[in-house]
């Protein structure tokens, strides 16, 4: 065993827990823009600042960008009362549902437009039109045949309807199950049916909204009458 005396390093002074790695290189008072760092006086006497131009520059730059982001966040929140981040909070089921509906609302006009175009092109088809997929398949797959349907809504209030049917849904044996709101206290919408539209030679989706139905978003599935297999989704948003 060596005769030399062992060297011991002093215990480092405890300064507080460091729970976020991302703050390692940031100013301690700069917490992701929510508590912006105070800008360093650019023309402060050099002796008051340590680390040379490189460290000073980085410190100064962090103070500029954190202050900027914090200001941007405050401005955005003042304008829209929404978080600065452009992304909606995803821990709220209602928010997710609303985003899905917004997306569907974009698809529906295109879907209907596509149907109308194809019906005009080939009016000899009786009952079902060959429908080109409005959206390219991710894998470059072939277009498929999908059923054409009219939508009839009976409601005293403005409603927004979103329908999405799976490709190859081409027969009339469809049933829409009741549509439910996220809030279970709201009654389900049940008066929904697919009926033949003799005049136009296609099926019609008929939806009746009771006068007393609370406003909100109601969603449900469309299934095949015989197999019970899900063939699509239906969402209705009732305005106040």
């Amino acid at each position: 065993m060596s005769e030399r005396k062992r060297l011991h390093r002093d215990e480092p002074a405890r300064v507080g827990p460091l729970r976020d790695f991302s703050k390692l290189y940031r100013r301690p008072d700069s917490v992701n823009g929510t508590n912006p760092a105070k800008p360093v006086r650019p023309d402060a006497p050099r002796k008051d600042r340590i680390g040379g131009p490189l460290a000073e520059g980085v410190e100064l730059a962090y103070s500029v960008i954190e202050k900027y982001i914090a200001e941007g966040r405050r401005t955005a929140e003042g304008i829209s009362n929404q978080p600065y981040t452009t992304r909606a909070a995803t821990d709220n089921l209602q928010d997710i549902l609303e985003r899905v509906l917004r997306f569907q609302a974009e698809i529906l006009p295109l879907w209907i437009e596509t149907l109308a175009t194809l019906v005009r092109v080939d009016p000899s088809r009786n009952g079902f039109a060959a429908v080109a997929d409005a959206w390219p398949r991710a894998n470059g797959g072939q277009n498929t045949e999908t059923m054409a349907a009219s939508i009839e809504v009976v409601s005293l209030r403005p409603v927004q309807v979103s329908v999405e049917l799976r490709p190859n849904t081409k027969d009339q044996s469809l049933v829409a199950l009741s549509l439910n709101a996220v809030d279970s206290r709201k009654p389900a919408l049940t008066d929904i049916s697919f009926v033949p539209d003799e005049a136009r030679g296609r099926v019609k989706l008929r939806i009746r909204i009771p006068e007393s139905q609370p406003p909100g978003t109601y969603s449900g599935v469309i299934v095949h009458r015989d197999s019970g297999e899900t063939r699509g989704t239906l969402s209705i948003r009732i305005a106040d």
């Binding site: 360093v40 980085v58 100064l60 730059a61 900027y68």
Partner: protein, 343 residues
């Protein structure tokens, strides 16, 4: 990860630059009035350029697994707008050279160049609108929102710099400079390309704030290096050497020189900077350059640029953590080293 700094960045800039340039030419009309308008629009794009902005947009899109085609319209719009703003910048700065050739207003006069810049700005809207057919209306609108913000930031930054020169501001600090660069340079050069790229690639499902930090540190390092090259660049630099001194541009080096100068030197500098470009003499510009050497201004700015590059790498490691390794991931990381090593 693949490739090294010396090969990966230039090769990907070439690769993405070529496809962007090919797509961009489809947006440049070849009809009359060619001589007075459309020939002018295609002048700067045909001179080359680094294609850094569209390449970063494409890489950020692919970083999240989306395809190059998803980013193409936006990449073209970025490059069109960049060229439009170069025309305006050259007029505002009274610059004489761009990409190794006389600037557009030197060739054709200010009115025609100004009109060409305006037209190119408006024409950059078309590819953004064309995004609808590829990525849908919602993302298209989000990108237009981002574009509006970027344009506002750029205009504010440009106004700050022009205002400092117009009213001969000599009390500017490093923080003022960084804020101006954040707005004037970083938004269009780095922040906006990676933000819209990430927006497209992730289908608007990631927080874009980290891209502001990464883009800011990268863009600021880029700008400082650009300002340094204006003083020490070689023949391949493409702009007028010492042009910033002739124009009285408030660079980090000039700000440092003003700060470190004696009272008498500062008074002389202020007098010199208050004069318009055409009233400055070679003797005066040489004196300012020597003053910068006296106070180690280029070394000071170089150190800050290196520090900012380090911060950019750090922020990038945070935002890219968890994303699979790819050429695009390496490219965006190595861009940081590339911007301060280029000459």
């Amino acid at each position: 990860m693949s490739g090294t700094t010396s090969t990966l960045v230039p090769s990907m800039l070439r690769e993405y630059g070529d496809v962007t340039r090919a797509a961009l030419t489809k947006y440049l009309p070849s009809r009359e009035p060619r001589r007075y308008l459309y020939d002018l629009l295609s002048d700067y794009p045909q001179r080359g350029g680094k294609m850094m902005r569209p390449s970063m947009c494409i890489a950020a899109t692919r970083l999240y697994g989306a395809s190059l085609e998803d980013a193409m319209h936006t990449a073209v719009a970025i490059e069109l707008l960049h060229n439009a703003l170069l025309i305006h910048d050259d007029i505002e700065d009274a610059s004489e050279k761009r990409r190794g050739l006389p600037t557009l207003h030197v060739l054709h006069g200010v009115p025609l160049a100004l009109n060409a810049g305006d037209t190119l700005t408006l024409m950059s809207l078309r590819p953004l609108i064309d995004n609808r057919s590829r990525i849908g209306e919602r993302l298209t609108l989000r990108i237009i929102e981002e574009t509006e913000r970027m344009a506002r930031e750029c205009a504010e930054g440009q106004a700050m710099e022009l205002g400092w020169r117009r009213y001969n501001a000599t009390d500017i600090g490093d923080a003022d400079y960084l804020e101006m660069v954040l707005k004037k340079t970083c938004w269009l050069a780095t922040i906006y390309p990676v933000r819209v790229g990430a927006l497209i690639g992730s289908r608007d499902s990631v927080n874009l704030d980290p891209f502001v930090r990464y883009g800011f540190f990268l863009g600021a390092a880029f700008q400082i290096q650009d300002d340094l090259l204006n003083l020490v660049g070689d023949d391949g630099y493409g702009k007028e050497i010492n042009g910033d001194l002739w124009e009285g541009k408030r660079t980090l080096m000039l700000i440092h020189a003003i700060r470190e100068s004696t009272t008498e030197e500062r008074r002389r500098l202020s007098r010199l900077l208050s004069r318009p470009r055409e009233a400055r003499t070679l003797v005066q510009v040489t004196w300012v350059r020597k003053l910068m050497d006296k106070y180690g201004c280029t070394e000071y700015a170089r150190k800050i640029a290196h520090g900012l590059a380090g911060a950019a790498l750090h922020e990038y490691s945070l935002l890219s953590a968890g994303l699979p390794d790819s050429r695009d991931k390496s490219f965006l990381e190595q861009m940081v080293t590339w911007v301060i090593e280029r000459n």
